[in-house]
């Protein structure tokens, strides 16, 4: 134990002394958070410039649609009198979209016939149009349904509308959207963290190969400490580093960027810690299979980057083709990200037994492979 600590301390000192690796270890994940903050944060701040052209006059329904739109997050609403003018402004890029409510629009809704006559002017495949549609369509459907019900029950439409508007305020939609952005930021940040964790783990395990190349490893073995003790202390240093990464990342994410992961901290930390073990064990396998530190570097890039890509660390997994998503099931990173996903959806940690077990199984399998391989590398020739 005393020996282990002694070597552990040296590993830590060496690691902390090389500021280049420190950059990778700690600043890396934090840059990752910043990056996802920029990507998703920006998207949230850009407002769509939308104009309403109300050709239907002082009708309550038309007014309701306009006020609904102005309440939607990220929409900057203006009013125009003329449909032609609106089209032109969309063409020239002064507006992102324009909503034309033709005369008779309100009547159509009240009579329960629907909103076919409504026109949404935008440039082809513009984000603004689809964004507005996501909000507007359900609302219009509700209005149509409202009209139908009013007709059937013979109640006053205006009255029903007033009731409906006060109940279903667009404010609730706003909150939901806000959270999902925070979650996206969290997931992306964790994706980057995973990437950095895996890289750091291999880097630290590669210390052992470098020590063989410098021959200090063999010199160590002539002292009372054993090869096993040495490896153990390296693994310990590795785990401590990854835990520090996780803690630093969570603290910075919450404290500095005010990103709410949508998951209680503890379950999140626990799954990440479990993954740390996976990362360290995998790094041991990589080291066990490489004879030189150059091989380690090559294997590191070859193994980590593609698997992280496939598992959805850098981009959302939904962007991937179906077949690739299938392959991802064999990657520990996917299981981690999926576990976090589910935690965000409100699943309790205790119900994620399958995920936790799978991660543990990955870790155990990697550990065993590395141990076996280490046991069969009895090559001391480099010492001569």
């Amino acid at each position: 134990m005393k020996d282990t600590l002694w070597v552990f301390r040296r590993t830590m000192t060496t690691m902390l002394r090389s500021y280049k690796s420190l950059l990778l270890y700690l600043i890396g994940p934090i840059v990752g958070i910043g990056l996802s903050f920029l990507i998703y944060g920006n998207e949230q701040q850009v407002a769509f410039r939308v104009a309403v052209v109300n050709l239907d006059g002082e009708q309550a329904v038309a007014q309701d649609v306009a006020s609904f739109l102005s309440g939607v997050e990220r929409v900057k609403l203006s009013e125009l009198q003329n449909a032609e003018e609106a089209r032109e402004q969309v063409q020239t890029g002064k507006l992102d979209a324009a909503l034309v409510l033709p005369s008779g629009f309100s009547q159509g809704m009240i009579s329960g016939e629907g909103s076919a006559a409504l026109e949404l002017v935008s440039i082809d495949s513009s984000m603004a149009a689809s964004y507005i549609r996501t909000y507007l369509d359900p609302h219009l459907e509700s209005l149509t349904a409202l009209g139908r019900t009013a007709l059937e029950t013979g109640t006053e439409f205006e009255e029903a509308l007033a009731k409906y508007s006060s109940a279903a305020s667009p404010v609730s939609a706003e909150v939901v959207e806000d959270r999902s952005v925070q979650r996206d930021m969290t997931n992306r940040s964790i994706g980057y963290l995973v990437l950095f964790m895996m890289f750091s783990a291999v880097n630290l395990s590669a210390f052992m190969i470098k020590e063989k190349e410098n021959r200090t490893y063999f010199r160590l073995l002539t002292t009372p400490i054993s090869g096993r003790t040495y490896t153990l202390s390296n693994v310990a240093a590795n785990l401590v580093l990854l835990l520090a990464q996780i803690v630093a990342m969570l603290v910075v994410m919450k404290g500095l960027f005010h990103i709410d992961p949508g998951v209680p901290m503890w379950p999140l930390a626990i799954v990440l810690f479990l993954f740390a073990w996976v990362a360290v064990a995998l790094s041991l396998v990589i080291v066990a299979f490489s004879r030189h530190s150059m091989t380690t570097l090559a294997l590191q890039n070859l193994v980590i980057i593609p698997t992280c890509l496939l598992a959805g660390c850098m981009f959302p997994i939904d962007a991937m083709p179906e077949s690739m998503q299938g392959i991802a099931k064999f990657l520990p990173q996917r299981w981690l990200l999926d576990a976090i996903d589910r935690l965000q959806q409100g699943t309790a940690l205790t119900e994620l037994g399958m995920h936790l077990l799978t991660l543990a199984a990955f870790a155990l399998a990697f550990t065993l492979i590395a141990a076996y391989k280490f046991g069969h590398n009895k090559d001391t020739r480099t010492f001569i």
Binding site: K2, D3, W6, V7, R10, T13, T14, R17, S18, N214, R215, T216, F218, R219, L220, L221, T222, T223, P224, I225, K378, T380, F383, I384
Partner: protein, 315 residues
């Protein structure tokens, strides 16, 4: 005197090849034991087995009377190995290097500090505590390499060619420190390619070839093995006019060396051929002035060459 190290029928094979072949040897407390052997003779392999770095194929090793396989920790803590290839951390200072290795032998606190300082002073690096080995000369690295092996004051210090490729000043420093370590109570095993080093410091020597010991004893004992050869030292006034080739051509002569400094010509020759008159006549014919003629002991180099049939250094 007690045996510090005993090798019994020690063997190491790689496939069919025996790198060390039934090697038996006892080294007593207080000796500086020289291990002589050409490249690939099996010196390092033997040392690696003593250091528990590689498994023993056959035979036994005892350190301070205890079997090293059964008492690995005990054996390791009583040995300090100076590896043939420099093995130090470039990213730690000289002080940290020595301190780290000493700590692996269990030293802590004030004792660790004083021993670390002592070891660095011993190899003449006491003004380099805070320097990094990457800025060191080859000789300084070699000296640090030694310091890392002695801070825990081992009973047995094994040095595997500690003076390869270094400047004469560092070499002298190292030889002196070996003597000092020995005087302070450490037994030393010293392997080298440099005959003069071994001649200068070793109390006993083993010549090893193809994994076997082919001769063992004090320098005088080794030299007396060679009875079929005589060495004649001829002191002259000046070396001017010396014709080595002509001398080598004389019947029975095996080798001729000229030592400018001592103004001595050394002729090794078959013992039974009587050729002294011829040699002297040739020298006189070349106009050389002879001051003295003496029978000399053969050099260790000659002993080695005769026994192994090859020279100690092949470079």
């Amino acid at each position: 005197m007690n045996n510090v190290l005993q090798l019994k029928q020690l063997t190491k094979t790689y496939g069919d090849f025996a790198a060390v072949d039934q090697l038996s040897l006892s080294i007593k407390e207080g000796e500086i034991f020289g291990f002589l052997g050409a490249n690939g003779a099996g010196k390092s392999t033997t040392i690696h087995m003593i250091a528990s770095l590689i498994p023993i194929t056959k035979g036994e090793i005892e350190v301070l009377g205890k079997n090293i396989v059964k008492n690995r920790r005990f054996a390791k803590s009583n040995i300090g190995i100076v590896p043939q290839e420099i093995a130090i951390y470039e990213d730690m200072t000289a002080y940290e290097n020595v301190r780290f290795f000493a700590g692996l032998y269990g030293l802590r606190g004030a004792l660790l500090k004083s021993r670390t300082e002592e070891a660095l002073a011993f190899v003449g690096l006491d003004d380099k505590h805070r320097s990094f080995p990457r800025d060191f000369s080859g000789g300084m690295k070699r000296r640090l390499n030694i310091a890392c092996a002695i801070a825990h004051r081992p009973k047995l210090i094994i040095m595997d060619e500690p003076t390869v490729g270094i400047d004469p000043q560092s070499r002298n420093y190292i030889l002196e420190s070996v003597k000092k370590l020995n005087a302070m109570g450490s037994t030393v095993i010293y392997t080298s390619h440099y005959m003069e080093e071994v001649e200068e410091i070793c109390t006993r020597i083993a010549i090893i070839d193809h994994g076997k010991i082919i001769a063992e004893g004090t320098q005088a004992q080794l030299k007396s093995i060679i009875t079929d050869q005589k060495t004649i030292g001829i002191e002259v006034r000046t070396m001017e006019g010396l014709n080595l080739e002509k001398l080598s051509g004389i019947a029975g002569v095996r080798s001729v060396e000229a030592n400018e400094e001592r103004r001595e010509i050394r002729v090794s020759s078959d013992a039974e051929v009587n050729n002294l008159n011829r040699i002297l006549k040739e020298l006189l014919a070349d106009g050389m002035e002879i001051r003295a003629v003496e029978e000399r002991q053969p050099s260790l180099e000659t002993v080695f060459l005769t026994l192994t049939g090859r020279s100690l250094r092949d470079n």
